[in-house]
Amino acid sequence: MSGTNALTMDKPTPTSLLDTGAQGIIGKGLDRVDGPLKVSGSATYAAEHAIDNVAYGVLVGSKVARGKIVSVDADSVRGLPGVIDVVTDFETFARNPQQGGETTAPTQGVKDVQYFGEIVAIVLAESFEAARDAAQQLTVAYEEAEGRFDFDALKGEAEKPAASDQVPPHFSEGDIDSAMANAAVSIDVTYTTPSQNSAAMEPHASIAVWDEHGALTLYGSYQMPTSDAQQLAKALGVSAKKVRIVAPYIGGGFGSKLGIAPESVAAAIAARTLGRPVKAVMARSQVFDATVRRSNTEQRMRLGADASGKLTALGHETLTSNLPDEGFFEPCGIGTHFAYAAPNRQIDHDIVRLDWLLSGSMRAPGEASGMLALECAMDELAEAAGIDPIELRRINEPESDPDTQAPFSTRQLLRCLDEGAAKFGWDKRGKAGTTRDGEWLIGMGVAAAVRGNMLMESSARVTLTRGGQAIVETAMTDIGTGSYTILAQIAGELLGLPIERVSVKLGDTDFPPAAGSGGSWGAGSSGSSVYLACETTREQLAKAMKVDPEALTLKDGEAIADNRKVSIGELAGIDGIVATGTISPGKQEKVTKQASYGAHFAEVGVNVVTGEVRVRRMLGVFAAGRILNAKTARSQCIGGMTFGIGAALTEDLIHDPRNGKLVNRDLAEYHVPVNADVPQQDVVFLEERDVHANPIHAKGIGELGISGAGAAIANAVYNATGVRVRDYPLTLDKILDGLPAL
């Protein structure tokens, strides 16, 4: 038996079979099904697939920041022991990585050098050591050119970027200037945030294998294999059917592996040239130099309110940076559009064209950096108005989407704030600079979290076997998010199978096309595709049992209806039941405003002698629809909150203003939080179902945890010290001068 089930989200789905399943595993904090493989080192990541006769490729990055390549002197290294060849293709090599979800080739052509570290060649050898040595010795001649490298010097030349489907570049309503002039209380302040790197623990890696029919299999570390395969096919000039991407395990992504990066194209071209498989793993410095960064930002915040604290003016004007001719701009104001309402608003995005590496999506593009400014500005306004920050947010809670007046599908922001305040002990927060514990100044901060919810087209195939096992197959990925586990829980709940009897296969474009992992849409989208497939399986089981699907109870591998109990494997029959489900976005995302919400609370200590900031505790309260697995969902949130610690206190990707070269292109100098930087973190989820989002009623959480988290810490630093630092990260040198005399 087989069947298909497609749903476009044009209407709400008031009921979900997940609420009536008898298996009782959905939502439970079950251990990850892939856990034993991961902890024993037997999960296979991109560079670890055992491929015979593989040649080692080491990438060569440009040593100038702007100009043209005159020559790549392959003969300079061909004679070295073990070296096979040097391959470059000035037309075809990817100059920039591609952005996530695009189905076109990335920007190609590396004869022109557009930024320091641009990948210009790949050296192939019989061993990694020989290839690395030759890559260091390879002679590349450049004709250097002048470039644009200094953000501060060039920000006067910012331009309005082309339209984006995420957020309008410019938006204004009413008259913000006069509203600011007439406001009872107002602030007009500018925040800056630096470039950041996703710094996933697994560097970008590809093994390219061509077969005798001209088909390519690329073992890669990619978040969205379905569109990545299309990007790679376009880049190589081959049919999309000829490219298969395999990515069962991915060592973190955080946006950096949404689109294909230069190593994939270089490995594929080298493998075709050599006629043998090629493995290319980026060095950590190349991940920094030549993949993708979160843009630096400069954000002017103008907030004006009447005497009661009600916003009359809301301005968020942002400057970010990217390469010339790249369409992406950091949508800093995306959350500002619906977080709060005001009759007079201006939310602008302008961009400075620089010859720095590509900027693109990193965990919560828009909200992650935008809310560092917005949520601190709200704190500043609260201070100026003499209103508690939580009360200020309550006063400004909008009734509907301020842009479109569409109703919110769900919105529990105030409940998140209130529950968090009670749990955290917010009432014990003192006035700024008044609480001290020995040589530590103590403060508390709060920030709201908002993150837009997205649904992407996604398909999955579910096979129920004669033996009563379910096999879920989809080109979805698990980048640490828990996809393997939640998809097994959804299938197990709907088909009445213990989780041990569900096997989930991901990360292969031979499986049905899927949304992939990005934008926090993975669980909602791929989970819904599995749900829909299982819905069809249930109908066929009911048919085999000659009852209505509603009359059927499925539990522990048995179907119960009409006073009969039959094994579902038996009902599946000798050929089993194969069902395919496909979810697509529809009108619901227009007629309702869909987002997930939360509240961050942080307590910090600031050392009165050194200015060092230590986060003492953090609490996140979140409402994001149905929580599919309480354990993995919590982990997603603490991971996001820790990205917030990094953004607030440690992460700062520094570009040399003379040539754009990254000064701190390694993990010793680019400071991601370490274990000792992270306190115990509490996470609370509010009960919620979003019937407008998808049939599983779940929304994204992976990015909600970072949105606003850093602002809560910065607000806590202010509360501890009375020092307001508006230049992230809040390193001790920026705080020290404002501390009281010893």
Binding site: V39, G41, F128, V674, Q680
Partner: protein, 163 residues
């Protein structure tokens, strides 16, 4: 050359420039040990050599012919987990899993250091170490986890250490 890895002798003829990490991954086929930075900055390649935890990317393989090398594959397998591995699963002490073998090897070495009475930067009493949360966090800070399972890693190690 021969290398004694997880109690088994492996023959390999590595390049003299090869790190122990690359020999494990590319010559011996033990890919459980991960390469995150190749510079001793992330800890993903942590293994145990003669019982002590080291970054295997920072040492040349040719230096280890007579050493006792223990990698994650020798600590436990997917169907026969070491208590620390089981605790990482129970407490969700990972997300993407890439730093995890290094975290676990590091934890094995770290617990042994505590057993020997070695103090750390945060030890209140240099002569008598109590393995509380801050001690574990301090001693595990050479192993980065960008997914940031840190609080869960501390919980997992605490459970095993307290047992």
């Amino acid at each position: 050359m021969h290398f004694t890895i997880n109690g088994t002798v492996h023959e390999a003829e590595p390049d003299i420039r090869a790190s122990l990490l690359d020999v494990l991954r590319e010559h011996v086929g033990l890919t459980g040990t991960k390469k995150g930075c190749d510079r001793g900055q992330c800890g993903a390649c942590t293994i145990l050599v003669n019982g002590r935890r080291i970054n295997s990317c920072l040492t040349l393989a040719v230096m280890h012919q007579d050493d006792d090398i223990l990698t994650i594959e020798g600590i436990g397998s997917a169907d026969n987990l070491h208590p620390l591995q089981a605790a990482f699963v129970k407490h969700d002490g990972y997300q993407c899993g890439y730093c995890t073998p290094g975290q676990i090897c590091s934890a094995v070495g770290m617990l042994d250091e505590v057993k020997k009475g070695w103090a750390s930067h945060v030890s209140a009493d240099l002569d008598s170490v109590t393995l509380d949360g801050p001690e574990i966090s301090e001693r595990m800070s050479g192993n980065l986890c960008r997914c940031s399972a840190y609080p869960n890693i501390v919980d997992a190690i605490s459970e095993v250490a307290g047992a």
